[in-house]
Subunit: 362 residues, 4 copies
């Protein structure tokens, strides 16, 4: 389906009661080419959207239907914001010409083995991957970007939030062959909305305020195989990654510090300019991914509510490592904004339609 500038595509959202679904609706409500159609939920069916997401003023009176294929029928776009494992069965029953975006994990991994290792359930198959800026590269040369794959797509697997941050931070160096893809280390500061609305003691405000807390340490996080997959697309032959997220007291945001060893043969003492040049060229024309001026480092507040990824890179000559820091809003560029960006591409709209780059700061 391709849109003309005066049409609005009707979009249904399954799983509208959660944070991902709510954030997609926040963006959809102000998107010039979208009209919000059916909203569905599981345990919250029957509730008004205003009782669940009181910040979504223009949609407050909408009532959630139980999630079913029938409720989602008759829309141009269906967004699935469901727990992993739930979207495969529904997606299989939706018509082929409807654009389906899966905000969950089910269709991201191309390797059934990787899926089964990290999720422990049967693989639902993979869809075109919704990270338009993902570099396709081999032999140190960029051959394309993922947005080429997304034009006209009817199925999109929206990336994980941590994956977006780490991939964007590291891929220029990997694609250029200027860093090693072995022995990557990424440590992230994560806002609590990334953990969803689940009622767990460690997610209570009383536990979170004034504290920093790691989770999924030691190679168990499900975003690891997805990062490895992306960096392979960006040209890496063999990726190993130590990945540690830490919850810090903010509602939104990911600050990803990701480091890679400089490739053998490069002199760390003189590599800074070449490194900066590689990152600069990778993102010079990207509307949503910006390398900051030298010396300015990203913070998550700069990206709050915006579809922007801000990146800085430095060479630590003594350590022989390139250090990148990437800031995104996990619910926007990391989830719903990335989905809108892919939706725009899939529908033939301007890639930036309905998305803003200005963060809500301070």
């Amino acid at each position: 389906m391709h849109m003309t500038s005066t049409q609005r595509a009707r979009v249904a959202v399954a799983g509208a009661s959660g944070y991902a679904g709510g954030e997609f609706l926040r963006l959809a409500a102000n998107h010039p080419h979208l009209a919000v159609g059916a909203l569905t939920a599981h345990s919250n069916a029957g509730a008004s959207l205003g009782s669940l997401h009181p910040h979504l003023r223009s949609l407050a009176d909408r009532v959630l239907a139980p999630t079913s294929v029938e409720a989602l029928a008759g829309h141009d776009v269906v967004v699935l914001a469901l727990p992993h494992g739930a979207s495969g069965a529904i997606a299989a029953q939706l018509p082929d010409d409807v654009l389906v975006l899966d905000l969950g994990a089910d269709h991201r991994l191309t390797s059934p083995a990787a899926w089964e290792q990290f999720y422990g359930s049967p693989h639902a198959g993979s869809w075109p991957y919704g990270l338009p800026e993902l570099l396709h590269a081999s032999g140190g040369a960029v051959t394309g970007r993922q947005r080429d794959v997304l034009h006209g797509a009817t199925r999109v697997a929206v990336p994980g939030c941590n994956v977006t941050a780490v991939t964007l931070g590291l891929q220029p160096g990997v694609a250029a062959g200027i860093v090693e893809a072995r022995d990557l280390v990424a440590v992230l500061a994560n806002g609590y909305s990334g953990a969803g609305k689940a009622l767990k003691t460690h997610l209570l405000a009383s536990e979170a305020l004034g504290s920093a807390a790691p989770y999924a340490v030691g190679g168990t996080h499900r975003h690891i195989p997805e990062i490895r997959q992306n960096l392979a697309v960006a040209g890496a032959e063999d990726v190993t990654l130590s990945f540690t997220p830490t919850l810090v007291p903010m509602a939104r945001g990911i600050l990803a510090t990701a480091t890679a060893r400089l490739a053998p043969g490069l002199d760390p003492a003189t590599a800074a300019d070449a490194v900066r040049d590689v990152w600069e060229r990778a993102y010079a024309d990207e509307p949503f991914v910006h390398l900051l001026p030298e010396g300015q480092w990203p913070t998550t507040a700069m990206t709050l509510g915006a579809n922007t990824a801000l990146i800085q890179v430095a060479v630590d000559a003594a350590a022989g490592r390139v250090v990148t820091v990437t800031a995104i809003d996990n619910l926007v560029k990391g989830t719903a904004g990335g989905a809108v960006q892919s939706l725009n591409l899939a529908l033939g709209l301007p890639e930036t339609a309905g998305l803003i780059t200005e963060g809500v700061a301070p």
Copy 2:
């Protein structure tokens, strides 16, 4: 000046380095009828906007000029985001047909005596007051709203952030004569951006995090005479107000708890419906001020980044008081969003142009 739908008014911002100026620019950058022109500053002249407000991506390369009448000349709109006392002299030199919005306090108070008592400097005179929803009332009947005054205005005094929250919370009952305007009590939870970018020890993150701190206690806050002035417009004969703001660990937001005694003759035990009805009618048609459904209370997160004011009201029968709680984003509805709303009215644009009602939550 009245705009057609395809024109963009050129707007200059004096004081672009502060939070109020930055927030106006965040909104202006995404406003369909505005084009950002000259940006000026005092000590930050010569710096790029990106170095001061790195979240304003589309304007990052703009360079700030020194604030002067010359720099501000040749624009359709001039926004003054200056320390109080500084805007009078500049405004006096701007052409009469240029729309000038003062985000500072200089032109808000109509009473020179009240100005001098609270600010201790000569009064610069008063301008049309930029709170479109302000009720004009007398004898218990609403006679108009402030937006009528703002159509075609060329000077607008944008209200104080606390004033907006307290006025919106209390004015329906005052205008209807259903509450007393004597012995009002308001206590506010305030985000730190309301204190500006001044470098003071008590505004440091290390001091603020995990703490709540009152300030300007005991009748000294400069927003008190402005609230009294507003409620007089809303029909009050004699206003007394105990007003206490408290800084709490959030960047933005005001949660104003404001209480008033029920008017004599009303039975507290049975007044709830009448009270709710008064508030409901006051805001039924307002695009940005919403009375929440019964039982749902506003939080500041619901309004983050949006031009929305959310209100709830209850009767405490045992205390004989009406309690209202109002949530706004101090920098949007409380400052820059309110300014855009007045700008829209002054330029003959749709009142809602360039403004959104959906908050960035969670």
Copy 3:
């Protein structure tokens, strides 16, 4: 039971898995005259204390038993940190000569009618009230303090946290007859630990961070009758109180802004010295309640982890009201520290044993 300086009283804690029980244990672990005995819980029976309260290092290996009278037997002191309604039955089966402290609400209110109105269940009866600084007054003269009642007590009802803050803030003026007890207004900024460990969506960190949220607005909060009861002890004939707590993004702390009208006959313009004098005399000899020097206002961070209440008072002459601000740590002076203070009095120990006044700031 009276302790000598070398003895340690053995204390059992029922409800050791919650925040109140945990905080009591934090203080007990460093109390020179207490030895921690049995720990019990309901759904967490069988778990180690270290898995529930990993901050309590010296007690981490203790295992929680199911709550029963048998498990609590054989101790000198029993602390009940149970949901309201649960302590009455257990307390009735404990020997009369065992010191029992109830951190819950069951035994605070002397009026069965007030209990039933606010709690909707049968009244368990009232115990000596554990606020040592509570003034006993009549006719404008202080006749004693509650600590006199607590010496040698074997049952103590520990006050509610909000009650402690509001009572300490207002009682000097009430006892002296310098303010009216009618038409009091209190608005509080509350840390999230006051809401306990219950798994509710609005208590999630993602909802709380960056937000302020009111609750129990309009005269419904259960701490209202307890404040009224205290101020009656302090000499008030008729108390009416508008009371609004607001959750703000901090783990601990209460900042209570409480205002009262100046008594008729006092000239607001000249009352400041007399007012200050009344508050100063009320707390001059108190080890844990401090009136700050003129011009310095309390913040919650100043009291974090300490048994200190910090107070400031001002007269708002134009409003005709006295404004008091009181800061406490809700879990220390507001709960477990207040309990230790009463325990010390009951056991004949120095009132300050095991308690510190220095807050953990910044």
Copy 4:
């Protein structure tokens, strides 16, 4: 000087107005063997301690003198909490038999070259290093601990806060030869008090709240040579370290995620037990450093206000790295508590005197 159990050593604090000095005083005020003597400051001389540190209730009336050798004379202990570069000159004039603890950096590094590279000023010489748990090792065998050096010392260089966290996290594996000391990567989440009281825009609450922000990225942080020095003591032959601190919205706390490659020859798939055993043995008898039970990860809240370091370790078999996470309170175990611990050793007191292990949580 060695203390008997009834004596109190008189301690003077130079730089009492800052966070480090204030925190030392918080601990000293409740230390059974210390008496607080002279307090000095630079620009705050003449102010009361209560106006600068209102949380230090028992010392609120103390007045700060200008910092001078005379003011510090006549004490048993002098604590220097001064900006780096300032303590050398003062320390040189203090008698040899006075115990001097430098909370600043001046006397930490043994290598003049490392000092000059990172600080750019002449080296003041090195003092016994105040990290009692620092392992002395060579050839994979522990030969002693730093506390042996501190018994009876009269000069102590207190470690940097980040250094303490990273050293404690990594040293067991380094000392045992089970991990490589080359290519270490550490990323830290840091509370804002670690940045001190300096008035800088990026330290304002409005900037910090809701945001995570990196600083000193790319090998420039001054704590890097100190960590390298410590790990050399712990037996490393050649240390390289990528080190990135990030400020997150909390007042206190460091959560250090530090990773090291498993030593060659170890099978990552089976190394977990051996690794855990090494960390367990390193800290089995330490009063303040605790390896948490398997599966439980440290958070900074667990250590707030306490002298405790909590550590967990895991093997990421796919990445071939050991991942350690260490939580401390930067002002306690990371600064003033560590200083008291060394002071206790130097004075012949119990190492744990005046220090507690229970954190203030939640």
